[in-house]
Symmetry: C3
Subunit: 434 residues, 3 copies
């Protein structure tokens, strides 16, 4: 029997932290208050009122009060899940005890916040035994406050070597009779503190890429039916960099990412959804550019590549590399240099086509994508075939399953999704594959 | 005591799947029949008649029949090993039971196929405990059919996060008294299903690189004296891409690769063998180009780099970066920019030279490679030294050991190997290092 | 409670091996004798008289004698730690026993060397159980020779798949009552033998990058409070390559590197220290160049990028990509393309500023770095902000902690450090953060 997910969401795109307290009297709950009222694409899948790093150490009791007040007031209307981050440290029992007390306070039903709260986020965890200490506090809190056992989910921030190692133990530890680790929900990388813990250095102080950490987090999540979330992207003005990071993460199976601002939330909510319109990419040496569509042709506007017809063939130049090709060679070469980014509509089409073929008893079918490329004055029509079998079908289904998960849980985003795709595509995408 | 290999081959270059059944009556065994008759470089080291993904679910019983018929008929003459893939799934016991029944049928000596079969391939394994379930079925089958205990080898396809984690447990699980996991042979990555299991996405639907998976598979194989094999390379027309993937794999210690077509088999059989002729590489900014030999000089034909003699020195341009250098600086710079790809003959020469030095009591000797570079009108002679000690010797030996393994087990490839290298080099390469 | 470091150094920059014996009578201790007398930046943090690979098998008993003689004579004045490497192999008990005998001899107080020796380096280890065999020998040696229990530190060379796997077990094995693995000190990668063990191959015979191994070593060190050291960089003339390797290592938290020559020691001792002077980097397509300072402006001299003022804005060209930008867009773009490498002085400044802010009750402050860029005839002033919180502060502290560790333990380098930074910066850097 497979490990079962014990929570509602299959995907989390956005993990948005906002401070529960800032310095200075009247303003102290301002940022958490405005975060609590976000809606639609600006609202995250998971909102994390943050009583750890985003709140000054001296303000953390006040942070708990603010959190309770704001979540009580706005929690019912908040469209995503709410998972406050409390304080914790694998190497400091008094911090752990403070975290426990804060959770106990927040979870007190008399305070009116807990009915809107889905779980807590535990930062700075260590070995799996440290995770169990937190889990035990969740269990006590559920007992004390008469909450259903296991109803509070637990997410952790992986920001130490030992926590990374613990990711390999999760699958066999979850479900042991003396813990309730089935409550685990998100595995979130915290690269700033991880960098410190690993004593890593870069010349500019920018974060190292930490590819292996992200792989191990994603794998741990996959093996234990949890959700992997990447850490914060510090340079909040660098939208392109944020998108590249998310694309790299998705190729690792890490769909979620931390957002530091509502602007980042919007980007991160939209990024994993397939595009409205398909597009063709052309490799130009080390890079890849998106071609421009015009009258059904895909036009290359750059000057890295040129193509000329000669009397008896073609001359294709890529950078400084020139080659003479006959028609068939040119065709092969262009086929190898192009790739197609399918739209949501394309994916749904292909899935439906494969489903029909399967029903008719076929195990594999060829999907064809054709277009006319225009490079300089030369036009060439190419056809890309891809064999689809059950495995291809299931791998292609991931973005659709993600879309369906979003559609099911985020009715506040329906309008924007319909604007984005049109209601016909939304309808088909919500139904395909079920 | 080191973990011992329990099987004959030390290296597997090619893992070739062909369907045991396709849709439609008379043709149903056509592809498996033609695969069974491959010889020489077209024949794989391991042939995998595939009754899983390559055979439609409704055709799998017929697939078993086809497999038995074809292996009985052609198996005696097939030059590689034969390892049918049957159905299995870590999350579905009825699939596992079906796989067991198919193996039991195929292994029945009365059916005449098992004497030509070396083992089975188990796809979609999970935790190490799931691997043990399959191992137990192998043991039962050996008992039932009076086969020698442990005579059937077991290979697995790693296509889930939990199977990747199991790669770290193999070394301590193999050899425990209640399993027969010494029968393990190949650890094969299956990136399509792995991508699905990890819920990874790329814009074009192409497979992510999964570097860490391949490292972990190779390391697991190394630690448990098994053989690591990379998954299928979908784009069967992209020969260059297939070669780059194999080169990247070899740098990870993963020598074997899945082949989907006899054309891919030829490429993958030849790729890990050292070249007939040595060659010089020149770094040109981010790339590296192979120089062209003419009259003993190595000639650079590109225009990324230029070199000119001035009155009192040289001007070396790489891309847009120009530098004035004196003779010694130029020499140093060109030394750093060049590298040499040794031929099979070069490797054998160096090994013999080191062996002689060792016999004479020397622990380390310098190996020198010299050539004349021609860039534009300027010619420069360089000498590259490399210190060889025992460790260098042993690392350099890997391609030779591979060659010797191939030569020992694949007499059907002797002729092609002699055409490729000449019989003198083949003779010396089969004898060196023993 | 966190795992405690059981040794004095927090960082090791240089792990310098020199042969304890070379071939031929009178010269046999020459190289070890000259290594023993290194001082200042030429002297490593850890000096490893090498009785394994650098000494011919037939010379190893003589090597032990040389080692004892030289360490007895020069050890008292050697400024770094001394950790001889003896022979060991996970798959050969007679080699292990020989290593034990050599250590027993070297550690005999009557021989006068052990008082200057900090530990031993064990190559070719296997599973954690193999590490425990070595640890047991250390314990016996301490007993036999009346040395304090645990006083001899043990470092290992990771050069097999099983040793890499053992890196994941360290944290839970250290401190078990039946071993003394708290004596562990350095985890050193040995990529030449590792490459052989993994059966990896590259066309030129150069070493694969082994990114995952280095990550796993660094993580294992971080989780068990040990020190990670990268293996040898063979091409001793390629200073730039050595620096790139070290920069890549530092981004993985692996600060130390093997040095094969006193020249490499100097480079490796200086590399992790922050620069004397800050500098600005500009991205030029795929590369990054350091700008040249002149009269307070940062000047770009290359031709990859050009910037021109037009009547109503700017034209910025990067490679072949030209864009028209207004003043604000240009500003944003240049902000994204630049980064700043802080000097030691900058880091100390920022730390002091943050400490003052924290004392005044602030949790986070913005640090600003501004400069004027000159590209062609156009000058643009930019300001880079970075938010500093406790986590940023602690991550930024790593190079300063490293500096302080060096300063505390290497009084022979004080003069060079003061020449490098000036005594004022040295003073402030030794005191900040404590």
């Amino acid at each position: 029997m497979a490990i079962k997910r014990h929570y509602d969401r299959e995907f989390v795109r956005t993990f948005f932290t906002s401070p529960t307290a800032v310095e200075g009297g009247d303003d102290s709950a301002k940022m958490i208050r405005s975060a609590a009222q976000l809606q639609g694409m600006k609202a995250p899948d998971v909102w994390v009122p943050d009583n750890e790093d985003a709140t000054a150490p001296s303000m953390r009791d006040e942070g708990v009060e603010n959190l309770i007040e704001v979540v009580s007031e706005y929690g019912a209307d908040f469209p995503g899940e709410i998972h406050p981050r409390i304080v914790w440290h694998r190497e400091d029992s008094s911090t752990r005890y403070q975290g426990f007390q804060h959770m106990l306070e927040i979870a007190d039903p008399e305070n009116g916040a807990i009915e809107h709260i889905d779980g807590f986020v535990i930062p700075e965890v260590g070995d799996i035994d440290d995770w169990k200490k937190a889990d035990e506090f969740f269990t006590i809190i559920e007992d004390e406050h008469g909450l259903e056992k296991g109803s509070l989910s637990m997410s952790v921030i992986v920001e130490s070597g030992e926590a990374e190692l613990a990711l390999g133990d999760l699958r066999e530890e979850i479900g042991k009779p003396s813990n309730n680790l089935e409550r685990l929900f998100m595995l979130v990388d915290g690269e700033v503190d991880y960098t410190k813990d690993m004593r890593a250095m870069t010349p500019t102080g920018s974060l190292p890429p930490w590819s292996e950490l992200r792989h191990n987090t994603s794998r741990g999540a996959s093996a234990a039916a949890l959700i992997a979330v990447d850490g914060p992207y510090d340079d909040i003005r660098d939208i392109e960099g944020y998108h590249e990071r998310m694309e790299d993460n998705r190729a690792k199976g890490m769909i979620g990412i931390w957002s530091l601002t509502p602007g980042q939330v919007v980007e991160a909510n939209k990024a994993p959804l397939p595009p409205k319109t398909g597009s063709w990419l052309l490799e130009t040496g080390d890079d890849e550019v998106e071609l421009r569509e015009e009258d059904g042709r895909q036009i290359y506007d750059g000057d890295e590549i040129s193509l000329e017809e000669t009397g008896d063939g073609y001359v294709l130049r890529v950078g400084t590399d020139e080659r003479e090709l006959d028609e068939e060679e040119l065709h092969e070469e262009l086929l190898a240099m192009t790739s197609y980014v399918p739209s949501m509509n394309d994916i749904v089409d292909s899935m439906e086509e494969f489903e029909a073929a399967k029903e008719a008893g076929q195990g594999a079918i060829a999907m064809t994508q054709s277009t006319t490329l225009a490079i300089g004055d030369v036009e060439v029509t190419i056809e890309k075939d891809r064999m689809w079998d059950e495995a291809t079908y299931q791998a292609a289904q991931t973005p659709v399953t993600l879309f369906q998960d979003v559609y099911e849980h985020r009715s506040d985003q329906h309008e924007e999704l319909e604007e984005m795709y049109g209601s016909d595509v939304v309808d088909r995408a919500t139904n395909v594959g079920n």
